[in-house]
């Protein structure tokens, strides 16, 4: 299970702004150790966001997304008290899911 994400929401009418900070090394596979060995690629590949069991965003990422990824997005039809759930799966098959209640 990966490291926890930090999810913040901001409701404006029925549009919610979601900002998420994830903890992941997002290794490109191009860096080398001080000894000259290649550090293997290791990064989040897919991200899925659901709200009341419907997908509101899905993404495919490559290692060019920065380390400790940050993403923000907006969707309509949101209401206070409901939950936004964010999941990711990385190139090793590890995953993480966190949710936040819209305040």
């Amino acid at each position: 299970m990966g490291n926890p994400m930090k999810i913040r929401t901001k409701l404006d009418g029925d549009v919610v702004l979601v900002r998420v900070l994830m903890s992941h090394v997002m290794e490109t596979g191009l860096r080398k150790t001080p000894e000259g060995e290649l550090i293997p690629a290791y990064f989040i590949q897919t991200v899925n966001v659901t709200y009341k069991d419907r997908t509101v965003l899905s993404a495919q990422w490559g290692p060019a997304i920065s380390r400790n990824p940050y993403m923000s997005f907006k969707f309509r039809g949101a209401a206070r008290g409901e939950k936004v759930k964010i999941s990711w799966v990385d190139s090793k098959g590890d995953s993480r899911t966190d949710e936040a209640t819209i305040e």
Binding site: T46, R54, Q60, I65, S66, K74
Partner: protein, 150 residues
């Protein structure tokens, strides 16, 4: 801003036209390895069949003019085109130009922010798919050589 190469964009749109956007899939998409592994325009072309994206003022890529550190370049991806269902980031001079693809169901705004790595100063393209067609915006972002660290 340097003129984007037509080939590059054609190839990319070929890649995007097919597999990256599975129709109506509610499940997590399968990661499109060939697209992310593509280093050259030819390989991207081979990935799928396509249409040449049109430059559009309705597709807006917001980013810094100069990135102090190429490891973290903030981008805002916007599309004012109705029914924008997909946004993708392509970084021309990265070893593998495709950085990310976002699939937007109805009700999700075409307004996303994220941060990417850039190997060097080059054009960054925002591709948008709307109404079955592809459009793009381009922006040159300079990446500086670092100082001592702040």
């Amino acid at each position: 801003m340097r003129r984007p190469r037509r080939e590059f964009l054609k190839l990319v749109s070929l890649m995007l036209a097919a597999e990256l956007v599975p129709a109506g899939s509610a499940l997590a998409e399968e990661w499109n390895k060939p697209a992310f592994a593509a280093k050259k325009l030819d390989d991207l072309y081979k990935a799928l069949g396509a249409n040449a994206p049109q430059q559009s003022d309705q597709v807006v890529l917001i980013g810094p003019e100069i990135a102090e550190n190429g490891a973290v370049v903030p981008l805002e991806l916007e599309s004012k085109l109705p029914n924008t269902e997909m946004l993708a980031i392509l970084i021309e001079k990265n070893p593998n130009p495709l950085a990310a693809v976002f699939t937007l169901p109805a009700g999700t705004l075409a307004d996303i922010q994220t941060r990417v790595k850039m190997a060097e100063t080059c054009n960054v393209y925002l591709l948008a798919k709307a109404g079955g067609k592809f459009y793009y915006a381009a922006k040159e972002i300079k990446v500086t050589l670092g100082g001592c660290g702040g």
